[in-house]
Symmetry: C2
Subunit: 175 residues, 2 copies
Amino acid sequence: MPQQPLPFDPIAEARRQWDLRSLRGPAMAAATSIMRAQQLVLAAVDHALAPFELSFARYEVLVLLSFSRHGALPMGKMGDRLMVHPTSITSTVDRLEEQGLVQRARHPDDRRIVLAEITPEGRRVVGAATSAVEDTSFGLDAYDTEALDALTASLRPLRVAAGDFTPTPAETTAD
Amino acid sequence: MPQQPLPFDPIAEARRQWDLRSLRGPAMAAATSIMRAQQLVLAAVDHALAPFELSFARYEVLVLLSFSRHGALPMGKMGDRLMVHPTSITSTVDRLEEQGLVQRARHPDDRRIVLAEITPEGRRVVGAATSAVEDTSFGLDAYDTEALDALTASLRPLRVAAGDFTPTPAETTAD
DNA sequence: ACACGATAGCTTGACTTCCAACTATTGTGC
DNA sequence: GCACAATAGTTGGAAGTCAAGCTATCGTGT
């Protein structure tokens, strides 16, 4: 963002260097592309969320809560769903609570569990923020629906290999 | 990593929710997939680099320097190549300098410029670290060469749209 | 009934990233 | 030749991520 476009593709350039010395040029290029893509998507979404004083991490938590049946979920369950470390949920909910968008409460039956509950203000903000994010297409407006689905599908084997979830036998693509 | 595989694909599940309310389900799923893919690749590489006391950020700087003609580059130029904020380069080189893998020196002709130069120890470490990273295929061993190249190609339009570089007219894929 | 392991969150600290503001050096224009 | 803008890096602060270690609570087994 802060700089001019380079006159060449820096990833293609780096790959040329790698190809001279090893067989991992393709993997290196793909890994670097993924890293950069994440930066760009995150920057686009964060930019759209800035007027609402939200980051992507906090926004995700709000959306998850607003989609949940009772507007409240245990901390740990949110960490599982969003695939982030439990500590990240703690600090994220800390901030959301400071902003008055979420409230903590102990589960009545199991006092170990902390429930995060979205407040009415939280519902209002997440609604407006979602419109803003949708307007940016998550920074992916260079792609049509088909290309987006292809992208998602092509990254799925990576998530499966990492053990994120157990694919249902029917849809096991390969391997 | 620290948790069991979920019995369902959390991204597919989230997408189902989005599809009920908006047209951005595909974009949301692709964006989330990219985010998660980056986490996984980064974790794999960081894990491979841990024995060398290197993070991916520091490793990238070392590789860039070891590939450069004189083993030394200005701070700003590295930021451009690696597409990170100038301040990130500063803190990364700070740590590499503490580790004795890099040395700072002022450019003789333009005293504003700080050159980071890789030390012999730095060259030794980056060589060993590279072998370790190559052994993990950057966390992408679920893909063959063709799939890796397809992945890189499919993420290219995003980088072009973000203005990372100006594609040469011949290879403009679509758009 | 009580000890002990498992579970759920929190605290602290290290690392990375970005932004805004600052210092030092270079180049330009009257 | 000297004011002034542009350039190169650094500093300090906010936010996010993860890991290790801690406290509180639950459940089970004897």
